[in-house]
């Protein structure tokens, strides 16, 4: 456990050793702040049945930086170790490969939480300034942030897997960005192609992140997406371990 915590500490700190963390945090906050302001301005225009939380997490202005953040925060996780050769000092220390893989994953998750925590402030400010709740019920907050966390776990595990596959950060970023984008667009598929087959449609909605967000931001906490995200995260992390060991032994 000590070894895991030591590794985790180094992973978290390593974000802040490089300017990447600050740049990502800055622009992420800027974009989400702008998104918040923009949505409220629209809501001000005419009566609507949506809450502020719902509209905040619906538009492209949310999804685009959201997707883009994963390649940025995961690309260096393994690639950098391969490139610098520090994999050798890391794996000849008395730590297991599982400890390394989980610590790297948990380190990114930690940073992801830091990335999103300030967005809650927007809703707090909204309430403070207007006297209205941004969402009608607490379930809406819980649901939204729970889903955000779950999606984060899954996409971070994809990013880690991509980083473990290559020693080039750009390659890692390209692989994870493409994969996550494709996954997201699969969710729109039924609308775009006009799938009418009910089974296909149901399968599609099972993995559609956009649809999950629609439900969760209303406070409808559905167990199917929870199972989907958690099991996919476990699978990706398991694959990451396999790739990591394969690359280590091939070195």
């Amino acid at each position: 456990m000590t070894a895991f915590l030591t590794l985790l500490g180094r992973e978290i700190k390593s974000f802040f050793y490089s300017p990447i963390a600050y740049v990502v945090l800055f622009y992420f906050l800027l974009l989400s702040g702008f998104n918040f302001y923009f949505q409220i301005s629209i809501l001000n225009g005419y009566p609507t049945e949506f809450t502020v939380v719902e509209v905040f997490f619906m538009p492209a202005l949310f999804w685009f930086p959201f997707i883009l953040s994963f390649p940025l925060i995961t690309m260096r996780v393994y690639s950098e170790e391969f490139r610098m050769g520090t994999l050798e000092t890391l794996t000849t220390a008395p730590v297991t490969d599982w400890q390394v893989v989980l610590a790297k994953f948990a380190g990114v998750v930690f940073f992801y939480v830091i990335l999103w925590a300030p967005s809650l402030l927007s809703f707090v400010c909204f309430k403070y300034l207007t006297g209205h709740e941004a969402a009608a019920a607490a379930g809406s907050y819980w649901g939204t942030y729970l889903l955000l966390f779950l999606m984060g776990l899954f996409y971070i595990s994809i990013g880690c897997l991509a980083s473990a596959m290559t020693k080039d950060q750009i390659n890692a970023a390209t692989i994870s960005f493409t994969t996550i984008t494709l996954l997201l667009f699969l969710g729109f598929l039924s609308d775009v192609v006009g799938i009418t087959d009910p089974t296909l449609k149901e399968m599609n909605s099972y993995i559609s992140a956009v649809e999950h967000m629609r439900d969760f931001s209303k406070g409808i906490i559905d167990s199917r997406p929870i199972v989907w995200y958690l099991s996919m995260t476990a699978l990706m992390t398991f694959l990451t371990l396999q790739v990591f060991q394969y690359r280590k032994w091939k070195a």
Binding site: T6, G85, T86, L87, T89, T92, P94, W249
Partner: protein, 310 residues
């Protein structure tokens, strides 16, 4: 401390090491010699648990490096070739991180890091970013890292490469002082270094062990043991003929230098014909201006053992 049995490693069918067998006892400082690509680093990487062997077994302090890898790794300090380090950390911070990672109890971390900083003369660089350090300092950080958990066994892959002569001397002293208490396996190309530091030498070539003995014994048993040089005022042909007849002289090559002749003699193993040659020159009335014995060095042994066709 180290036990290697029939260790084989192939990269895509090409053997890097084949059927390696050797042992290193506690407290020994063993030099691991061989030309580039001989399999030194591969062997070290297997011992440290970084690479799996294709077949065979290796153990450290009785722990199998593959099946009991963690126990084996806890007992060794490893300095890889090229000293990879996290360049975005400060020296002290890096060593504290490594100490914790290697299981030094948190109450002892500060003390141990202080000790290795002192030992590797890094005190004044404790707060420097590793990326700002010169090659020599990085090497010392790597060494400090290898030592920080006070391991029983040190495996050092070319620890003096890239250092200046003063630094090499320091590192050499450091390693020498570690002996007795710790076991050290060290790979290098620098032969005088081995003679100075190591209690035993293992010569490896093309993945196989060519010799394993003390530097002294290797020299003693080396067949082209020595050579002699004689400069005398005598016609080259006459001189060569006379010298050839001395027992222990293998062959003679000559070179003229005015009225002087320079004779290069190659001697048989363990032969010592110096006295007889001197008597020969005296009896025949040769003027002699130089007579020197060149002992074979570890370099001769190394070249002989690792000559590609041998």
């Amino acid at each position: 401390m180290i036990k290697v049995e029939n260790l084989t490693k192939r990269y895509g069918g090409v053997p890097a090491i084949e059927n390696l067998n050797f042992e290193v006892a506690k407290g020994e400082i063993v030099g691991f010699l061989g030309p580039n690509g001989a399999g030194k680093s591969t062997t070290m990487k297997i011992l440290t648990g970084y690479l799996p062997a294709t077949s065979g077994r290796a153990s450290i302090a009785g722990y199998d490096v593959f099946s009991q890898s963690l126990d084996a790794r806890r007992r060794l300090g490893y300095l890889p070739e090229n000293t990879p380090l996290y360049t975005d950390m400060r020296v002290g911070e890096y060593l504290r991180y490594r100490a914790k990672l290697k299981g030094v109890p948190s109450s002892k971390v500060r003390e141990r890091v202080g000790d290795v900083l002192e030992l590797c003369s890094l005190r004044d660089r404790e707060r420097t970013m590793i990326r700002d350090l010169s090659k020599g300092y990085r090497q010392r950080v790597g060494l400090a890292d290898a030592l920080v958990h006070d391991p029983e066994l040190l495996i050092l892959d070319e620890p003096t490469i890239g250092l200046d002569p003063n630094q090499i001397r320091q590192v050499r002293e450091l390693i020498k002082n570690l002996g007795g208490k710790r076991t050290v396996l060290i790979s290098t190309h620098i032969l005088p270094e081995v003679e100075m530091m190591c209690s035993r030498v293992i010569v490896i070539h093309k993945g196989q062990i060519r010799a394993s003995d003390t530097a002294e014994n290797l020299l003693k048993n080396h067949r082209a043991l020595g050579a002699m040089r004689l400069e005398a005022r005598v016609p080259a042909s006459t001189g060569a003929e006379a010298l050839q007849s001395v027992s222990g002289v293998k062959d003679v090559t000559t070179e003229a230098d005015g009225d002087w002749s320079v004779f290069q003699l190659r001697l048989d193993a363990n032969a010592d014909p110096g006295e007889e040659i001197w008597r020969l020159a005296r009896d025949r009335g040769w003027d002699v201006r130089e007579m020197t014995r060149r002992r074979s060095t570890l370099e001769d042994v190394f070249v002989d053992l690792t000559h590609s066709d041998s």
